[in-house]
């Protein structure tokens, strides 16, 4: 398989994640979108690593991103819980006090 295919999957995943972040009404879906974007980045790392000599660097980055994503989701879920406690909603369109 050529590099283009990998990039294509990655780009699609990125686009889906972005749309998910922008359009979904539930904040949990927004988190899903973030995960998808991170995974798109991982695919890119793995692909470039493979077509660029096949060393360890890319794979290490992927592992790091997975760990990072796990940590990020944990913190994000904690924020979501707090937001829910505070505002009794998980809809990003209603949690608009950043405006203040």
């Amino acid at each position: 398989m050529a590099l283009g295919a990998y990039i294509g999957v990655s780009a699609a995943l990125f686009a889906l994640g972005l749309i998910c972040i922008i359009s979904r009404r539930n904040i949990l879906y927004v988190l899903f979108g973030v995960e998808m974007i991170l995974n798109a980045a991982s695919i890119n790392f793995a692909a470039f690593n493979r077509f660029n000599g096949g060393g360890l660097e890319g794979r290490v980055f992927v592992v790091f991103i997975i760990i990072l994503a796990a940590a990020e989701s944990a913190i994000a879920l904690a924020i979501v819980l707090n937001v829910y406690h505070l505002m009794k909603t998980v809809k990003p369109s209603e949690a608009d006090f950043l405006r203040e």
């Binding site: 972005l18 972040i21 922008i22 608009d96 950043l98 405006r99």
Partner: protein, 732 residues
């Protein structure tokens, strides 16, 4: 200098001013809480000081004889104090260094001040009893004594001046002692008197400061010995003549004497100073502070040109005579003594002035004047204290017309006062005789040597003044102690003073008798060798050669004293006998005026053969002029004080109208300018600021619309922006 002072001697000399200073510090802070309000502390301190000064006087007398007794701590390893400023160009660093100068004159004066001060302290313990500010009084006289002792020991003009001013301040505080006592009947007079004394002496002090500045400008030193040496060099360089600037500076220095020693026309403060307590009058205004002016002349004598000495002679003679005439008309017992003091100070000043022209015996006037300062201190202090004792005994009555017949009530006071009256009159065997006789002799020598018109002038004035002195002093004695009591009430309550006062009186009276010469010990009644002379000059009675010890290494005959040797070479027959002649004639004159004065006083006031009222009526305007003190106070009031008042009123007018007008004008201009500025500020500057604020507000309200707080919208914007940037990148 065969007998250098030991370090013990130096330390003792240093302790002399230190003890009263320490007593002052303790007394002013803790005096109120000490037993007896602490009067014993300064008095005991002064007793120690008296012992030290007398011991040091005997050291000086033991060393004196044929060599000058002259010690400067700066050159002999004694105590020296660096001043804050040292001129760089003086390599030896002696510039403005203060040390102790202990010479014959200093030794005599130090002993006089020590002894008189102790007895005045002792007297005050009785006289001031029950005073509201008893402890403050003792603190003040202690500090005064410190200043006077420091002045005598100063080896430079600057420190002399500092102590001089300190004495002026203490004089002010002590004259005004009763002005702080709300119960005192003369509170206003005391306040006015101390102010007058302070301001009048200030005129003289300012003159002295000018003189000091002129001498320092030329000599670059205040050290007396250096100044004498430099003055001698300056005169030698100028061909034996004093340069004009030295005459001017000398006159300024003499101005200091005129102020401090109450010489005409600045004498007006001294009679008023009698508002102070009597011990203060005795110590400050008779024995010590007013003598400081004469002491200053003694210290600066080589700096005074012959022209200055002529002025000194005239001023002294005028003062002596005119104060003596006033003394005859005063009825206040202290007032008589005050004018007597002015008159006697005139004698001393005139004597120092005549030293310049006397050809028979070199420097006789100088020594006579300084000697009279010493003897006068003894008998005048005693006279004042006796007067104080009389006032105390008569319950603060000072008017002699209400006294009379007190001889039996106060026998010891009477004895003391009689002895001192005989001394001031110049009766042989009494101390005043030895000094006053020499003053007249000095004037005679000027007359016989044809030393200008000042000689006869001084001689006539001084002889008349001496006669009047005898007259008014015996008038005082007769009015106070003899005759019938004029006020029975006062007489009935009069009593002899307590022991401390009487002891002081008798001690000072014995000094008034023997202070000039201990004739009882060697039988030399005419006084060719007095103790003071052995300290200050040497006369060889075989050859008539004289040598002064006051200014070692300075030949005054090359400066401001007429040289007997030169005159002798010029006319040997005549000059050789001048000295001898002058002494004989002086003796005749002084005994003659003494007799005349006594006879006059006896006729007027003891036997009452002549009624004083008739004589005063005959004298008419002359008498009223004298009785009103020659209207000097009125003249000063009319000229100086009025003048000052007119000047100050003019200045007030200028201040209120011109200066204030200018200030107000400036104020108005500024106010108008301020209005313009305010308009610009309000309309233009504020408008600009508001414009900026408005624009910012409008922008803000537009931009605020984008700020929804919806996170997804922000992300959309970011994505759109990213896409836009990418599109631009691709397209370009």
């Amino acid at each position: 200098m065969d007998h250098p002072l030991t370090s013990l001697d130096w330390n003792l000399l240093l302790a002399v001013p230190a003890i009263p200073l320490a007593a002052f510090v303790v007394q002013i802070f803790f005096g109120r809480h000490l037993p007896r309000k602490g009067d014993w502390l300064p008095t005991a301190g002064m007793f120690v000081v008296m012992c030290i000064t007398v011991r040091m006087l005997f050291v000086a007398l033991g060393a004196a004889g044929h060599e000058p007794f002259f010690h400067e701590s700066v050159h002999e390893g004694g105590p020296v104090f660096g001043w804050f400023y040292q001129a760089a160009e003086k390599a030896d660093g002696l510039n403005l260094v203060a040390g102790v100068l202990y010479d014959g004159l200093g030794a005599a004066m130090l002993a006089v001040v020590g002894v008189v001060s102790f007895f005045v302290h002792l007297f005050s313990m009785g006289y001031m009893k029950g005073d509201r500010r008893y402890h403050i009084f003792f603190a003040n006289i202690s500090l005064f004594t410190f200043a006077m002792l420091g002045l005598v020991l100063s080896d430079n003009l600057l420190f002399l001046f500092i102590f001089w001013e300190l004495m002026g301040l203490m004089s002010y505080l002590l004259i005004g002692h009763f002005s702080h006592d709300p119960d005192s009947p003369r509170i206003k007079q005391a306040a006015a008197a101390c102010k007058k004394a302070f301001l009048t002496t200030r005129v003289g002090d300012t003159c002295l400061l000018f003189g000091m500045a002129m001498f320092y400008y030329h000599f670059q030193t205040f050290q007396f010995s250096e100044m004498w040496r430099l003055a001698a060099e300056e005169v030698a360089r100028n061909g034996g003549e004093y340069p004009t600037w030295m005459t001017v500076a000398g006159l300024f220095v003499f101005g200091g004497t005129v102020g401090k020693s109450a010489q005409f026309p600045l004498h007006i403060w001294l009679p008023d100073a009698m508002e102070g307590p009597t011990p203060v009058s005795a110590m400050i205004h008779a024995a010590t502070m007013v003598a400081a002016g004469v002491f200053l002349l003694g210290r600066t004598f080589p700096l005074l040109s012959p022209e200055v000495l002529q002025v000194v002679t005239v001023v002294g003679s005028v003062t002596a005579l005119f104060a003596a005439t006033i003394g005859c008309t005063i009825n206040d017992i202290k007032g008589v003594l005050a004018y007597s003091t002015i008159s006697q100070l005139g004698f001393m000043v005139a004597a120092i002035g005549t030293a310049g022209g006397a050809v028979g015996t070199v420097g006789i006037g100088l020594v006579a004047g300084l000697f009279h300062m010493v003897t006068h201190a003894f008998f005048k202090a005693c006279l004042f204290l006796s007067a104080g004792s009389v006032i105390h005994g008569c319950h603060h009555e000072q008017d002699m017309r209400k006294m009379g017949g007190l001889r039996k009530k106060m026998p010891l006071t009477f004895t003391a006062m009689l002895i001192c009256t005989l001394a001031i009159a110049g009766t042989p065997l009494f101390s005043g005789f030895y000094s006053k006789d020499k003053i007249i002799a000095s004037a005679w020598e000027v007359v016989l040597g044809h030393g200008g018109w000042t000689g006869p002038f001084a001689l006539v004035c001084l002889a008349l003044a001496a006669m009047l002195t005898t007259f008014y002093m015996f008038r005082l004695i007769f009015m106070t102690f003899f005759g019938e009591p004029r006020d029975q009430h006062i007489h009935d309550h009069a009593h002899e003073s307590p022991a401390p006062m009487v002891i002081s009186l008798l001690a000072l009276a014995s000094l008034g008798l023997f202070g000039g010469k201990m004739w009882a010990m060697d039988g030399d009644v005419l006084g060719k060798h007095t103790w003071f002379e052995s300290l200050t000059w040497h006369v060889d009675h075989e050859t008539g050669e004289t040598e002064q010890f006051l200014y070692p290494g300075i030949d005054l005959t090359q400066m401001n004293i007429a040289s007997a040797a030169e005159a002798r070479a010029h006319d040997p027959e005549h000059t050789a006998h001048i000295g001898h002649d002058a002494h004989t004639r002086a003796l005749i004159v002084s005994l003659g005026v003494l007799l005349l004065g006594v006879i006059g006083a006896v006729l007027f006031y003891l036997l009452r053969k002549i009624d004083p009222a008739r004589v005063t009526a005959r004298l008419g305007r002359v008498y009223t002029t004298i009785a009103n003190k020659y209207y000097i106070d009125e003249i000063v009031d009319g000229s100086v004080i009025r003048g000052t008042m007119v000047l100050s009123r003019t200045q007030t007018w200028i201040d209120e109208n011109i200066v204030d007008g200018l200030v107000l004008l400036m104020g108005r201009i500024h106010k108008a300018f301020g209005f313009v500025c305010a308009w610009i500020d309000k309309n233009i500057v504020d408008g600009l600021v508001n414009l900026v604020a408005g624009v910012t507000q409008v922008c803000g309200s537009v931009v605020r619309m984008l700020q929804t707080g919806r996170i997804q919208q922000y992300v959309s914007f970011a994505v759109a922006g990213g896409i836009l940037l990418a599109a631009l990148h691709i397209l370009s």
